[in-house]
Assembly symmetry: C2
Homo-oligomer: 323 residues x 2
């Protein structure tokens, strides 16, 4: 199992925390903090659809954070999911969040992350409180429409008649940093403009500016990023075999979808490589899919070994299909 | 004192409720309701500055509502005041609301309105509750930016970089109708677009569409309407004599500022009429000001008599200046 290594130097912790990231905002502050104490990190996910294989990427970073001695909070942003253009009807949110929690826990377990080092929080646990709500109003009395719209441009679904909720979303995410009591927010680079808004406005409310760590995005099968709420762009963790085969047949973008951060073919069996170059015999597609399910590319050797050991178990528990 | 006359017919109540209004939305529904029972009305005021003499106009309608057997709630919208472009710094809101309550109570007493028939509520009493906040989010997931902006156009201060809070304002005012449990919202015609938004969106949340009653506006000394937060546009109830004189000297718009609903010069002493035509001897300005303080134009004979009796007392209590 992944364990905090208390013998790591601040510099080693810094390297572990920031490896494979696309961008770090607040590098110096992060280094300073690590000299003083272990840090608190939060990663949030809006429960807008079933988690897909791309979730392995942030989860492998969560593993890094834990190894570096961080306290990590995973926020299930159920209220955000509701706000984001009504993707999740309110009545379904509770059930969906329960599903997310089960899937993400299994996913973390499959790559050897001990759950006792993590905290799981739901947005509605605190985002409807009097104190938080007052801060939402305080913040919205400082944030311009222009800044709110700009901040949400890459995350809030862009529609012809945008809803008011889409403008609230970024401010709430900024306030979460304060209410979750963290030093760092971690997310995909698609969150960059929200992080900038948080850095700009939190100090106006008397709260400290946080450090921001950004992952590269996992590209989707169709579209710029893999999205839980867009069926055609993602391969779901529980996707039926027939559906996976159909999606894989549609194009050869799977490589880019699943292995964007690793040297492209380094971890792939030879069969997969030829599959991804255009030759697509059935057994090679099967090999790719097993890779997707069982060996996330960013894992350390130790992780991969653990994952191999647990693969059967995980697959059995979640009925992961094999081509 | 003004008392509910239980012998009024539904038609007589309707006439009393709607007299001197500029517009009624839901006329038929109002007539139907009055055949069944007495109705509940709400009037809200954002505590953005010190109340001015224009407040006599809605207060005289509140008197009408009470005479017609209505239950009337006056909402001190302290949260709205905060949202409206930060006119009221948060720390001052509580004190300001206390001042509003004292002034409005005195104002109602001066025109013979019994306070025991009125309910005073502050926005922050319920607008930060979990239930209300969830409804704000539900509503903002339905209201488009376009509709929110349009609704607030005449009420929210229009600035170069509009704040997010200005877009929230109209939705909150719509929800107030549900949370105050009223049949009717009453306000100036400047609220018309907000009322339209409320009529459009409340039914989407499963709440009933309310009746809307609209007053003509009291024009300001400078600008389109008298505004509590714009010193140059208003004559304050507690305005120092020197300041009133200065404002009156600036123009001859006082007639339109104070007597927009009555036949222009019907209630004015002869001296005031000549003053308003351009001759401005000192004692005539004084006469106008006494009129402003003591004899609101829309009051019934009974009101005026009561007001005359109480004028000295009210003036003494609140240190109303005389020119």
């Amino acid at each position: 199992m992944t364990r905090v290594d208390i013998r790591l130097t601040p510099e080693e912790k810094y390297q572990l925390i920031t490896r494979n990231l696309q961008e770090v905002l607040g590098e110096d502050k992060l280094k300073e903090l690590l000299k003083e104490r272990d840090i608190k990190v939060y990663w949030g996910t809006a429960t807008t659809g079933k988690p897909h294989i791309g979730y392995f990427v942030p989860m492998s970073k969560v593993a890094d954070f834990l190894m570096a001695g961080c306290e990590v909070t995973i926020l299930f942003a159920d209220l955000h999911a509701y706000l984001d253009n009504m993707k999740a009807p309110w009545e379904l949110l509770k059930l969906r969040t329960e599903y997310y929690e089960a899937v993400i826990k299994a996913l973390l377990e499959s790559i050897g992350v001990p759950l006792d080092k993590l905290k799981f929080v739901r947005g509605t646990d605190y985002q409807l409180s009097r104190e938080y709500t007052l801060d939402v109003y305080r913040l919205s009395s400082q944030v311009t429409e222009h800044d709110a719209k700009k901040a949400g441009a890459e995350v809030v679904k862009q529609v012809e008649s945008p809803l008011l909720s889409g403008l609230l979303y970024p401010g709430l995410q900024a306030l979460d940093e304060e209410y979750l009591g963290v030093d760092v927010q971690f997310g995909g680079v698609d969150q960059r403009k929200i992080f900038i808004l948080a850095e700009k406005y939190l100090p106006n409310l008397g709260y400290k500016k946080r450090i921001h760590l950004m992952n590269p995005m996992v590209p989707g099968l169709s579209g710029s990023k893999m999205s839980s709420s867009e069926l055609d762009s993602k391969i779901d963790l529980l996707e039926p075999a027939a559906s996976v085969e159909k999606k894989v047949k549609k194009g050869n973008r799977l490589l880019f979808a699943v292995f964007p951060l690793a040297p492209p073919q380094a971890h792939l069996p030879l069969g997969c490589q030829s599959f991804l170059r255009g030759g697509k015999p059935r057994k090679q597609r099967g090999a790719v899919f097993r890779q997707v399910c069982a060996v996330p590319p960013l894992l350390s050797q130790g992780h991969r070994r653990l994952c191999d050991q647990e693969a059967g178990q995980v697959r059995g528990r979640h009925h992961l299909p094999l081509l």
